[in-house]
């Protein structure tokens, strides 16, 4: 009785084992593929940034928001700017920030309403981690990757 049950089951279950193994394999491959792509996207995007701007004042709702900095960015309230900050006190194209190979240069594009560490800024000026820049009423703190920061010392 048990033996004939076994004979039937053994033949039937060969397909079950193949199906299970194939299903496990498919799951492992598809999940690992998805995770790989996701990891690459997140790390790739983060890896492209040389640092970020953190909003620390002037916009209560957005306080603490970090905005990734590429090698070259324009900042303004107009939609043409790379970094768009919607605030009435900011010009459409307010400032330009670019990494020149050694330093991150901050260049105001308007005559008024720009301050670096509390002082009025008109010309290009190198900025680094911890510096505070103010565009209109909005205050940002700059963070630069430590390995880029080291270039300032040389």
């Amino acid at each position: 009785m048990l033996n004939s049950l076994y004979q039937v089951l053994a033949i039937g279950m060969k397909y079950w084992f193949i199906a299970l193994a194939a299903a496990i394999l498919w799951l492992v491959i598809s999940i690992s593929g998805k995770e790989y792509r996701e990891r690459k996207t997140v790390l790739g995007e983060v890896g492209n940034y040389i640092g970020y701007l953190e909003i620390v004042g002037g916009m209560e709702e957005e306080e603490g928001t970090r905005i990734g900095l590429a090698r070259e960015n324009t900042i303004g309230s107009g939609h043409n700017a790379d970094i768009v900050v919607r605030d009435e006190s900011i010009e459409k194209m307010h400032a330009h920030m670019a990494f020149d190979g050694n330093r991150l240069m901050f260049t105001p594009l308007t005559k008024k309403g720009t301050r670096i560490n509390g002082r009025k800024a008109i010309n290009s000026y190198p900025v680094r981690t911890g510096d505070i820049v103010q565009l209109g009423n909005v205050v940002f703190r700059i963070f630069l990757r430590p390995e880029l920061e080291e270039l300032y010392e040389q």
Partner: protein
């Protein structure tokens, strides 16, 4: 956007694996027409062990690579099912080695994830590898024509299994820290000594494995095409030389070319293996209905043919793809590392496990001359399982190292609006 990397749920894989182990052991429990409760107990223990091991490792080590460990779990589960079907006693011993191996693996992970390249210790590793290999010549007893076992009290172990890990570690060290050709000389002499000792001990499989791993690692570390081709040439000359010099090498090649000629003697194992694979066909005979008793060493070197016979060729092919997934994941981890040493260490372990499975699967299906070596994770054998799990631990350790670096990066740049 939250830039923490979510690890995707792998629960479905764990559930399916548990289902596989439980159903296979349930089938084995009624195999002889009498109900065998031990099979069910074994199945329950193995599934519980796999689940606990997986979630424990996941909890202990964040950013562990899930897929490498899941693939290994599937491989050793299939192995233990088939070993249990051949001999219950061996299956219980294999399970004990699995528990022990997990403990060793955790230690290896902890050491590797916070270590650098071990510096001068590598000279000690090299010496250790040579002593391990030489000791077999002095202290060993022969199993299956090869002198590769040492008895210590009730235990016997295979020193070459551990020598090959020392080989990978010192290879990674030398290839990552030296760049002048002359500075490779001690390392090349070391490799040659290892291979010669293995060939003299009649352990051709491991010798071949070390040669192949050496060439792969040398090429991937230095990228010198000409020297690698020269290395392949030296390897070919060495292979031909040992073919002329040693009768046991000659026999292996002869039975590979025509196993039927010596069916009653040396060719018996190959022919029986091929017959087993053929009688299984695409879908297999069904678990427990094959004849592994007819194949010598069916629970160790020849386990692939038993799986092919009872589960079928499709299943066996799927098993090979599992090894491929393992290799691809290993390469991804290797490419993701910071230092060349880490990359070579992971790639060495991956390459060695993949070449090892190629040598034995290729051997039993008569693609290349058969050299006795175990199928990683699947074959019965404490030393073999332990050494595979140490290599798994090295791969996982580096993966965790990568993961914590990525986490630091995300921590620093975290919560960026993209």
């Amino acid at each position: 956007m939250n830039s923490k990397i979510q690890s995707r749920s792998t629960a479905a894989v764990v559930v399916l694996q548990t289902l596989f182990t439980l159903s296979a052991f349930a089938l084995l429990s009624i195999r002889n027409g009498v109900f065998d409760p031990w099979a069910l107990i074994m199945g329950a223990c193995l599934s519980a062990f796999n689940v606990v091991q997986y979630y424990l490792l996941k909890k202990m080590f964040r950013s562990m690579d899930h897929f490498v460990i899941l693939v290994s779990q599937f491989l050793w589960s299939v192995g233990i099912v088939e070993i249990y079907r051949i001999s219950q006693r061996y299956a219980v011993r294999q399970a004990i080695f699995l528990v022990f191996g997990t403990a060793v693996m955790m230690i290896v992970i902890s050491v590797i994830k916070s270590s650098r390249d071990f510096g001068k210790l590598n000279w000690l590793f090299m010496g250790g590898a040579v002593i391990l290999l030489a000791s077999t010549l002095v202290l060993s007893r022969a199993i299956g024509g090869a002198r590769n076992w040492i008895n210590i009290g009730p235990f016997s172990f295979q020193p070459s299994e551990f020598a090959k890990i020392l080989f990978i570690m010192s290879s990674a060290y030398f290839l990552s820290t030296r760049d002048k050709l002359t500075s490779f000389i001690p390392y090349i002499i070391f490799t040659a000594v290892c291979v010669i000792l293995l060939v003299v001990a009649k352990e051709l499989g491991t010798g071949l494995l070390i040669c192949a791993t050496f060439l792969i690692l040398f090429y991937s570390a230095t990228g010198r095409k000409l020297l690698t081709i020269l290395g392949i040439g030296v390897f070919g000359a060495g292979a031909y030389g040992s073919y002329r010099l040693f009768s046991h090498v000659r026999t292996r090649v002869e039975i590979w070319r025509d196993p039927w000629a010596s069916y009653n003697a040396e060719g018996y194992q190959i022919v029986q293996g091929l017959l087993a694979l053929a009688s299984g066909g695409l879908f297999g005979t069904g678990l427990g209905k094959g004849m592994p008793g007819a194949i010598p060493a069916s629970h160790t070197d020849y386990i692939f043919t038993v799986i092919g016979e009872e589960f079928g060729l499709i299943f066996a092919a799927i098993l090979i793809v599992f090894y491929l997934v393992f290799i691809v994941r290993g390469m991804i981890i290797a490419m993701n590392t910071d230092s060349i040493y880490d990359a070579l260490l992971v790639f060495g372990c991956t390459a060695m496990l993949s070449v090892q499975s190629f040598i034995i699967i290729g051997g039993v299906i008569k693609l290349i001359p058969l050299t006795g070596i175990t199928l990683p994770f699947v074959s019965y054998g404490g030393s073999s399982l332990l050494s595979s799990m140490i290599q798994l631990g090295i791969i996982e350790g580096i993966s965790i190292k990568n993961g914590s670096r990525d986490d630091r990066e995300l921590e620093m740049m975290g919560q960026i609006m993209i």
